[in-house]
Symmetry: C2
Subunit: 307 residues, 2 copies
């Protein structure tokens, strides 16, 4: 019997990562592959809402991928992969981020496209294969797309995302603006979290040359809930930066309604962060007008500054 | 005025690399981009024949890519890129090899597919864009496809390559078996070369962990022409391995008619090469039955052995 292939997204999974893993496993199964969706960490409240809304079981947690066959979705760098991925065989990659450090020995399918969500690419792969996603799968893909693009408002949004969102909404039988607004309220249920949970809930590590950085993002309609506890949040950031030996920990508190970001910073390399973001921090805080995308507006200039 | 983007393949360019660069630049131009094909080295006799046959100018030689915008075709690792590529902006990658070490700061299009040639993927991109290649462009794409797959005989050949070859042959107005045989005779004009020219004419460098390797391939219908001068060839391989501090230099002399390979080896790490290829060298020579593809049958096991 041949081995199952796990379809899996990044650590600290978000809605696009989970929904893409489930949807791509379904497409691979339709095509005769033995593919199983999996996750590399705990579900966030928004994703829990989405899975319940579309009546889909949560993918099981893959604790250690050593020796397994993996299809990576929504990431392509080892600082974000499931534990053991370096000892796994990477069979395919579908993503929409910068090109990272995952290498393979053999030629594989790697489809990375500069669009708003991995779900967008997967919807097009269904099309290419002549398959129509089921109502549930369309609901999941739409959720991934709307979550990652902040209901088509993020600067990462492309015309392809808009076209795909309409197609998926029709199959899923929802109004995407209305459904999107419902999603956002779940994304922003942050009041119940501890500062440490808050800063690590949507969090990614990056290696830029010799520097390791942590960059977290809180997308919310109520940034004041975070900023009113700034001292406790900064203390949690300091702790994480020290434990993990980060050169800097940047937290983006993104206001989904005003479409801008307040950044907090901890660590030793604050001046390099200032140079990268072309800003000045006052009491470890800086306002970044128009910034909504970690991937497109924050990671590239920080990488340039740190390399 | 905005900057031109160079579409460029790997060093020691082969027919697939050159034809893919020319064809993709044409597609990008049709889509309104300012894209110019370029090359990272001298043309081989087969590629010269192809450009004359289809009456297409050779792309100009890009000596230094620093500060330029690049679209990489037919490669995605820095040991094979044009000089200065690390200081260039990589805009897109279209390839059919293993996933290598090229990283980017921003999300880009990276389409890597496990098919027989980059030309195959480009033909499908023409299709996706609703464009039909001209007779000349179809002739170039067919040449890249037939050259890389040894007229659909290499184990890297997929059903997609076969379908695309028929479509391109129809547009170009040639019989692909007949045209392919004509191509092969040009590929195998090696009798006129010095041993050093011979071993470097289709040559790639790889970094496997701390080891640098050179792996050359001579695809020919007359392997005896190479093997009869074995001592001179090994001496040239020794020279190159010493100059460039390779752990090993492996030369694959591939018999296109018998569909097997005789490997020659030089350098300090012969035992690791033996372990990787699961063979024993006698007087620096080993016979590899059924081996035709450097990419699929030689690079992966050598990488495993050296890491």
């Amino acid at each position: 019997m041949s081995q199952s292939t796990y379809v899996i997204g990044h650590q600290q999974p978000d809605t696009d990562t989970i929904c893409s893993a489930v949807a791509y496993a379904r497409l691979k199964e339709k095509q005769g592959a033995d593919a199983v969706p999996a996750r590399a960490g705990e579900l966030n409240p928004e994703t829990q809402f989405v899975l319940e809304r579309w009546d889909v079981d949560a993918p099981s947690h893959l604790e250690d991928a050593s020796g397994e066959q993996l299809i990576l979705v929504d990431h392509n760098e080892h600082s974000q992969t499931v534990t053991g991925a370096r000892e796994a065989e990477i069979m395919e990659i579908i993503d929409h981020h910068r090109i990272g450090d995952v290498e393979t020995s053999s030629p594989i399918l790697f489809r990375n496209e500069p669009v708003g969500s991995t779900a967008t690419i997967l919807s097009e792969l269904f099309d290419d294969a002549g398959e129509t996603p089921s109502t549930r799968t369309a609901g999941l893909l739409l959720s991934g797309l709307l979550s990652d693009t902040v209901v088509l408002r993020s600067p990462t949004t492309t015309d392809r995302d808009r076209v795909v969102a309409e197609e998926l909404a029709e199959i899923a039988g929802v109004d995407y603006e209305e459904y999107g607004k419902e999603l956002l309220t779940h994304k922003s249920k942050i009041g119940e979290k501890t500062p440490r949970e808050m800063i690590l809930s949507d969090f990614k590590e990056f290696e830029f040359g010799t520097h390791e950085l942590g960059i977290g993002q809180i997308e919310t309609v109520e940034p004041a809930v975070v900023l009113h506890q700034k001292d406790a949040v900064l203390e949690a950031m300091d702790d994480v930066a020290t434990e993990r030996e980060y050169s800097a920990f940047v937290l983006l508190v993104t206001d989904l309604l005003e479409e801008d970001t307040t950044a907090l910073v901890a660590g030793d390399e604050i001046e390099t962060v200032e140079a990268g973001l072309d800003t000045a921090f006052s009491e470890q805080e800086a306002f970044l007008p128009g910034v909504m995308s970690r991937k497109k507006q924050v990671v590239p200039p920080l990488e340039d500054a740190f390399r």
